[in-house]
Structure formats: C-alpha cells, structure tokens
Subunit: 396 residues, 2 copies
C-alpha cells in the first residue's frame, strides 16, 4: 500500500547529483498554504539551505507551500555562491509549480564543500514537478537518503473530533554516523488543520524526547532539519482538549518511531539502548546526565562488546557536570541491578544476567540519582568496528 | 643511568594485586616534609584514595611526607569499606616509615568495584618500604602502570640562582583509552624549595596547557591524580624573578613531555594531533572549540584514516557552543590551507598535500576563528579499530 496524505503530492527523480543513478531530487507540494514548523541544526556552521529555509519560515510566520530536497550534495561551506544556488533551486521549483520562491523551502544533504551541479538541478526540478502524485511519498522518502540502508517511513492516523487525520513522516541519516557529515533530515506532512502558533510548540514538545534525545556520536551537522507541514485538508475543528492531546501524542509517537528507525539504520549499529536517568532534581539535569552517558565512547564500546562494564556508566555520569552523590547511585541494565547506593553488587551470576540483557538489540540502562523525581531519557547506540571503518576509511 | 632526586627514595614490589607478577605496589618518601600540590579528577564519582588524599592535603595546608600507590585495583565504587581500606593502606605505610598516617597520601588505579585485597597490601607495604632507595624511581614508574605499553618518565634540571634543581616525573594511562577505566596518574618530585602557596599555582599553570588539554575520549576517570612534591633539598633561595620563570617553564615543559608520552602510549593511538584554535575573543572560548574538535569521534576517525575530511573539523567547531562566524573560518593542516573564510579551497593537489600531512605521527590542525587574538590548543588522537577492540572486547 502506498502512503498518502490528503492535499499533498510528492515527486522524485534521479537528477545525477549523486554519482549513482539513485533518486536524488524530490519535491513535495501542498494544495494550499500549509502551516509549517521546523527545527534546524544548532551548529554554528549552517548550510545555505538551512539559512534560507529558516529565514523564509520566519518571514512567512510559519507557512509554506512546497519543499525541494536534494541528496548527494549538502551545499555547505560554499559561501555566497552556495546561497545563490539554494535560492535558485527554490526559484526553479516555484516556477515549475506556479508559486512564489518565498513559498518554497529547501533542504540538502550529502558531501560538503562542493557547489551544487546547478545544470542538473535545472534539468531535474521540472521533471520532479511532472512526477508529483498523491502516492509518491515512498519515492520522496527514498530520494532523501544518502548512505542509509533503507527508507524510513512512518504513518499515524488519529481521530480529532469528527475528522480522521493522517500523519506521514520520513527520515534519513543516523545523526552523523554515516560518512562525510551525513545529516538528519526528517519531514512530516499531515492533513490536520493546525495554526502555525500551535504547530511549533507541538513539534518542539514532540522532538524533546525523540529527535532531540538521540545520539550517534554527539555531533549535529551543518544541514539538520526537522520540518512538519500541516495542510488542513482533514477539516478538523480547533485543537482543544482531548483533540489537542491526541494530536500531540500521535506526533510524538510518529517521531519516536522515526528516531528509533534512524538509530537502528545507522551503519555499524547493532544495539539501540535507552539511557534512562531518573531521580534527578530537574529534567534538565536528568537529560544532561543521560546525554553524557549516551555520548561516552567507553559506554558505547561496552554496548558494542556486550560487556556489562557498569563502571563506565557511573564514570560518564560523574563527568556530566551535574551535582550528584556517588553514594546514592543505583544502576540497572533492564531489571538487573548492578550498583546499589554507589557500591557494586555484581557477582558472576549478576554479570551473566547483565550480559544477557546486553545481547538484545535494544534494552534500557537505568541510572537512578536518588535526589529527586525528575527523569529523562536518551537513545544511544554502539560504537563498533564498522563505525570506525565507515568513518575512517570512507574516502580512501 | 638511573634517575634520582635529592631527598627522595622510591620502592616498589609485586604484591599480587595484579594477576600477573608485575610490580603493583609502590612507595615514595621524602626525607622531610615536602610541599605538595595536586590536581584531582573532577568526576563526581571519586574513588576512595582521591577523597582521602584530597582531604589530607587540604588539612595539612599542602604538605606531605610520603605516597603509597597501587595498580591493579582502583578502590572505586567500594563504599565505606573502600574508604577504610584506603585509610588502612596509609596506616600501613606510615607504620613502615615511622610517620603519621596523615602525612601519607594514597593513589590507586585498576579495576573498579572490587575491594582491595588487603591481605596482600598488608604483606606488600613493609616489603616496599624495605626496598626504598634513591635510585628506585624507574621501579616506582613501572609499578603504577596498568595496560600502558611502557613506563613514561621525564626529567628536567634547572638552575635557580646558585642551586641546580632536579625534577623527576612519571605518568601512566592514556586518559581513559586503556580498558576498564584506566586512570591518569602523574607524579612529579623535585628537590626545589618551593612553599606550598607557590607550588599550587605553578602546578595549575603548568597543567592548563598540558594535562588539562589532552583528550583521548573526553572522559576523566574516578581516580585521576596529578601530584607534585617539592622536598627542598636543593636549598635554592626564594622563587623570585627569573628563578620563578625558570621553575615554571621547567615544570610546564616536563608535564608537556609526559602528556605527549601519555598520548603516544595509548593503545590504538597512531597519531597525536595538536588542535590549535586561534583568533578567538578569549582563551576560554578558544579552548572550548579546541576541546570539542579534539573530542569529536568523526574528527578522530578521520585522523585514524588519514582522511583530510576538513568538513568534520568545521562541524565540530560549530557544535562547541561558542559564537563563531562560519564565513570567517580559516583551516590549515600544518601549513596546508583547506578552508578560507568558510569556503573550501580544496582541489586534488591540496587534498594530496593534506593527506601527506595526516600520514605523519604528529601534526597540527589549525582553526582560525578570525574574531580576536586569543588562542588555545588541545592534544587529540585517533579513534581506531584498536580502540574499539580494546574497549569493546576487553572483558569478553
């Protein structure tokens, strides 16, 4: 079954931006002006499409009609010429769709430091526009991939009053695990009617525990973008009360599925581990500790090796820059307790149980600070030989 | 030639704390009360010997007579029993040397979460005391090792007025590169006469650009300790003017040599790279950017692969949380310029030159922010297959 979302059409072509003949140029159009909310990379080095799309979204007060995406070239570190290329790409899309360039957003992913091959973009955009169709989402999701092993698509439907609402999402790139600065691009379309002022907070809330809580190697790229477009064709009433809760839950749930798929698809990833820090004074400190543990190379190599080396978890937590009392720490791998009040409770039997937990493709590492009642989680993955091979040997 | 430093004696034995018959228990004694300054791990999870030694140094106003060190067991995450074990170890050393326990400091390194085998410590300490001799520094330096490939010793002499002063230092453990939370222990003895109030700032100044600016994987362990003891047997006059500068330079230079040796000795380390960030508004921001680049797994895998993937350096810098302007960034690998004002200047010839730079065992990555005149440097190393093997497969 092909995916669809009322009011949206999708098209993709192979424009020759990638060296292979894979799909590498995609268009997405809404039949009316959609509410739009986005989260962009916080990296201080931002690619041209990020700078341009962010400015346009701000000027339009969170509204857009279309999106053009290319893979194979990030258009980053390309200076003013790169900014002109990004603008020209949207002008080409606008012309093909009968829109104004200001209504079109743009995203790119791929190698950085190289100019976009604009002749190929010029030839490709009209063809992508000609390919637009309601059932084109899978092609769209395929065209944004770089070194991903497979397309990652998720779908949710939710009843909002009398209206059945659809959300379709796709994502690419496992953080920066893939070679050469692979970017996380995530796009969600929904036929829900949501004003821009409601869509932005819903996106930020949904991202907090999902895309903003995943870590492959702790870096964000020059091109990261998470965009939600709400067209409104479902004709639902105002998002109030239970409808508002349901919309939020569905969006969070959709992003959670995509975030997990993103992690699992990372090359060299065999384990996706939820780092849950609880008993913190505040959610902020809980998140800070969880992030530190999730990013620790020593924890990540232990995950890769299936080694219940609990000391590394405590050590990473102790490096988080957050007040904690070693004598209060409890540590569990799923339900296997390894540390009680800062003291190891391991013996051969416990270690064997913990090793069995770590053999699973996904499990939880739970660290209780026993200082309060706030908690947060972060998704971590293993740091494996494949990671090093992919990232050390990529261009050689 | 064996190393010596007037007023100090050193002894080491194999006490059976390690499973091998390698040296694992060491003593160091000064013939008088020495000035003592130390830098301890900032990890919130501190091993018992760190807690005990820090408290004793503070109570004594920066003075000590002796140090007992064991390898093979970190005495970390061992609760109150571990603290009693650390105290008892110093009591044993004090009894063997005719001192008060308060005059004795203690350090440990090795596996964490296991009690010290106190029967072996009890048998070993008197034997180590019996082995004390002026020429025992090399044995001492060997006894503190864990998975290090070789002992790392450095020596400086410096003329202070009419007195020739000696400094002897040794170090172990490459950050946390070695398996199971390997600790950085560094000990320096000198016969210089330096009051405690002068020794502490000299140590902190010397460490800022050396041991506090190295990164193997960004974590500090539960047991890290850097200790300087100044006995005063050289009888030099007050440290003023040129003598003060010379002492500072010699101490910094000694720590720099030890820090480089530490990095080079890390298992899986083939390249030690100086990350130099210049043109910053403040030294603090320069250091923050340099640290972020040095800790980036993507930069470190690029170093391992010899891949001039300059985009990763810019990307890591952009993630440092420091204001910077992408359009002002210049990037060099040694003298090969790869980025000019934020734009790639690479072609095949430049890439080949950069690859040649990266084939060297040590080189510089220079990032100019072009925003000010402050600079800082950080030492980085590669993230290699051996790193993953050592840390993923250690206990399996």
């Amino acid at each position: 079954m092909s995916h669809a979302c009322r009011g949206f059409r999708f098209g993709a072509v192979s424009a020759g931006i990638k060296s292979s003949d894979a799909l590498d140029l995609a268009l997405l159009e809404c039949d009316r002006t959609a509410s739009a909310a986005a989260i962009f990379t916080r990296n201080r080095v931002k690619a041209a499409p990020v700078v341009l799309s962010r400015a346009r979204l701000a000027r339009a007060g969170g509204r857009a009609r279309a999106l053009v995406v290319n893979s194979g070239n990030a258009n980053a570190c390309t200076g003013r010429a790169g900014m002109r290329d990004a603008e020209h790409t949207t002008t080409l899309a606008a012309a093909a769709l009968g829109l104004e360039p200001e209504q079109v957003l743009v995203a790119s992913t791929g190698v950085i430091g190289h100019r976009l091959p604009m002749d190929r973009v010029e030839a490709g955009v009209p063809r992508a526009a000609a390919a637009l169709r309601a059932s084109g989402f899978d092609d769209f999701a395929a065209a944004i991939l770089t070194t991903d092993k497979r397309a990652k698509v998720a779908r949710r439907t939710v009843q909002l009053g009398h209206s059945r609402v659809t959300m379709l999402g796709c994502t690419k790139g496992a953080g920066m695990i893939a070679p050469n600065m692979a970017t996380t691009l995530t796009f969600v379309v929904t036929d829900a009617r949501v004003p821009p002022a409601r869509l932005a907070p819903a996106l930020h809330h949904a991202a907090a525990g999902t895309f903003n809580a995943i870590s492959v190697d702790g870096d964000t790229s020059t091109n990261d973008m998470l965009l939600v477009l709400a067209g409104g064709a479902a004709g639902n009433g105002p998002l109030r009360g239970r409808a508002s809760v349901r919309f939020q839950e569905a969006l969070t749930d959709l992003l959670d599925e995509l975030a997990h798929a993103l992690m699992r698809d990372g090359e060299g990833v065999h384990h996706v581990v939820t780092i849950r820090v609880r008993g913190a004074r505040t959610e902020t400190t809980a998140r800070q500790v969880a992030r530190r543990v999730a990013n620790s190379p020593l924890v990540k190599t232990a995950i890769a090796g299936g080694d219940p080396n609990w000391g590394r978890v405590l050590c990473a937590a102790g490096n988080a820059g957050v007040p904690l009392t070693a004598e209060r720490l409890d540590l569990f791998f799923d339900r296997v307790q390894l540390v009680s009040r800062g003291v190891a409770v391991t013996d051969d039997r416990v270690e064997a149980q913990a090793a069995a937990v770590m053999a699973q493709p996904s499990y939880e590492i739970v660290l209780d600070l026993n200082r309060g009642s706030a908690e947060a989680r972060y998704l971590a993955c293993d740091l494996s030989h494949e990671y090093v091979s992919i990232n050390a040997d990529y261009r050689t």
